[in-house]
């Protein structure tokens, strides 16, 4: 595993990192509760993966393309996406730039090059290759980063993405968060490969395994891979070894398939605690500072939730927008009927 000799960034910046990680954790905690209270339809927590996500996001540049799966809220926080924008998506309200079209956590924001996520597994991996190819073709010095989990390494488009990227030497950093579980299937039953990183060998480019709960290790591995890609040296696969501390989603109960002992082992390796301890040890942070930070982020989340909950649902007519660039005749006919139904009160917003 890649280990860092010393801190990768100055303490002032590491404090920002810690705050971002804490903010992500606070969003997760709040949203899990909101879902239990019936105020949020669904939720996918990233709890435990903050080191990997924020470590990777922190190492990227503004023009880089993010091709996320549905667990990448931590990455979103590193891209300067406002918390309110994230919550608008979670609530699917009328302020959501995706117009409330998708289940919670399926984010997408063009202005941040954060590509709209879908639910099928691994499909975004090959999109990243197309984006990287196109960026290079247009003379941009950027990379694209597909995010995916251990489960996705078994998917069709992990193979197509890795293979195409190798063939075209595309500037892609494949970022795999091996969080040990694909819903109920443990890592060792997903593949008999000793590591996920070694899969890169077969595609003709390097694969590295890093401690995904170590911000520094992730940050420096991604920085290195990014530099390689920009230099035209081709793609890299990074396997960030981490752990999904929560359920797969709010529809899942992990007690059915994994032991509390395993969870406890990984909780002891909590990436937030780890960075906090490091900063406390160095005297860059006190326990009191940390507690205050947690209070602040929780308050920030509470306020953003309150705001997002107040925003109403999307207008009924938006149902028909963006299917095609313009409604084709068959859709125009349906829109007309829909308007009549609304007018007659047969359907109500």
């Amino acid at each position: 595993m890649g280990q860092m000799e010393g801190p990768s960034l100055p303490d002032t910046e590491l404090l920002k990192v810690l705050r971002t990680m804490s903010l992500g954790r606070a969003v997760d905690e709040r949203c899990m509760n909101l879902q239990r209270q019936g105020r949020l339809g669904f939720y996918v927590p990233m709890e435990g993966q903050e080191g990997a996500q924020i470590g990777c996001g922190w190492a990227l540049e503004k023009g880089d393309w993010i091709c996320p799966a549905y667990r990448e809220m931590g990455v979103a926080l590193t891209r300067g996406i406002p918390l309110s924008t994230i919550l608008d998506q979670l609530f699917g309200n009328s302020a959501d730039l995706s117009k409330g079209r998708q289940m919670p956590n399926h984010y997408g924001w063009r202005d941040h090059r954060f590509v709209s996520a879908s639910s099928p597994i691994g499909t975004q991996i090959i999109h990243a290759v197309g984006l990287a190819y196109a960026s290079r073709y247009k003379g941009e010095k950027v990379i694209s980063v597909p995010f995916f989990g251990d489960g996705a390494t078994s998917s069709t488009d992990f193979h197509s993405g890795m293979n195409f990227a190798g063939v075209y030497k595309a500037p892609v950093v494949f970022f795999c968060q091996n969080n040990q579980w694909a819903i109920s299937l443990p890592r060792e039953k997903q593949t008999k490969s000793t590591t996920l990183a070694m899969k890169a060998n077969a595609y003709g480019f390097p694969g590295v395994q890093v401690d995904g709960n170590d911000f520094h290790a992730v940050y420096s591995a991604v920085k290195d891979a990014r530099t390689r890609a920009i230099r035209g040296e081709g793609p890299t696969l990074i396997e960030a070894v981490t752990y999904r501390m929560g359920p797969h989603s709010t529809s899942d109960d992990p007690r059915r398939y994994r032991s509390s002992q395993e969870l406890a082992t990984w909780k002891a390796r909590d990436p937030i605690e780890r960075l906090k301890e490091e900063l406390v040890t160095r005297g860059a942070l006190t326990e009191a500072d940390f507690d205050k930070m947690q209070e602040e982020v929780r308050a920030e989340v509470a306020q953003a939730v309150q705001q997002a909950e107040k925003v109403g649902p999307p207008e009924p007519r938006t149902l028909f927008e963006d299917v095609w660039a313009r409604p084709i005749p068959q859709l125009q006919e349906e829109i007309q009927e829909f308007e009549e139904l609304l007018k007659e009160g047969v359907i109500r917003p």
Binding site: R101, S116, I126, G130, L131, P329
Partner: protein, 325 residues
Amino acid sequence: MTDMTLIQGVNRALHQAMKADPDVLCLGEDIGVNGGVFRATEGLQKEFGEARVLDTPLNESGIVGMAVGMALYGLKPVAEIQFLDFIYPAFDQIVSELAKFRYRSGGQFPAHVVLRTPYGGGIRGGLYHSQSTEQLFASTPGLKVVIPSTPADAKGLLLTAIFDEDPVLFLEPKRIYRTATGEVPDGDHRVPFGKARVVREGSDVSVFAYGAMVPLAFQACQVLEKTGIHAELLDLRSLVPLDVEAVVRSVEKTGRAVIVHEAPKFCGFGAELAAILAEKALYSLKAPIVRVTGYDTPFPYSLENLYLPSVDRIGRAIQRTVAAG
């Protein structure tokens, strides 16, 4: 105007588009050095280079997914799937990704990809080089589905597809790649989507066809003309968007409808046409709607001529429909 075959029409459209716009790229299996297994992309790599005409690894999901990524950036990729029969590994990319990107992102991420693929039987291609499964895609909101039957339409519809804003499945009737010949306008010739072509006018019965079924239906109509049956033939050209107005108008005039396609009958595109006519032209109908289609079997090899609609089968159906009322 230049005389050419349907496949040359495809080639000319690609050439025209690539010359006009550096954002147009082609990708697919064997399309570069080899010019495509049917030679649709002949000469393109030589002229535009390997960066714009990509020979891809053998992976349809990869081809479509890569094209989606290019389109998300803003390029105009034209991907070739060697045979429609081989498109299914990419079905997830087409249905879950390509067709839904614009919608799921609230319009932030349109993905405009043209998927060209030869389809249909009559070339002794057996189960896996012959199928017509346009209905699978026509029933996916977000996609457009277009099928030329003449060289001029091949060029004109493909150019429209490449410069359209939506993903387009462009189905090429390979059986008539070289037998369909005709004059094609030079330069930037575009044929709009959603406009059926009246192949011949008639007053007794409306025949609806597309792709390789158009010339067969035309022959059937010509034969019947001699027996005093005046059949109107419409080449639909685009299934999505469909020229509903032209379909309904024709049946309002003739009172009878015969629908021809190669795909199996059950839940085929003909079912949609029949439903539209039932909804919008029922009171004009003098006889039951008839479908002449491939059978509800997998596509056969040795017996393909018995499976596919023929001039005689189409002619018989037209005759009976006219006689029915």
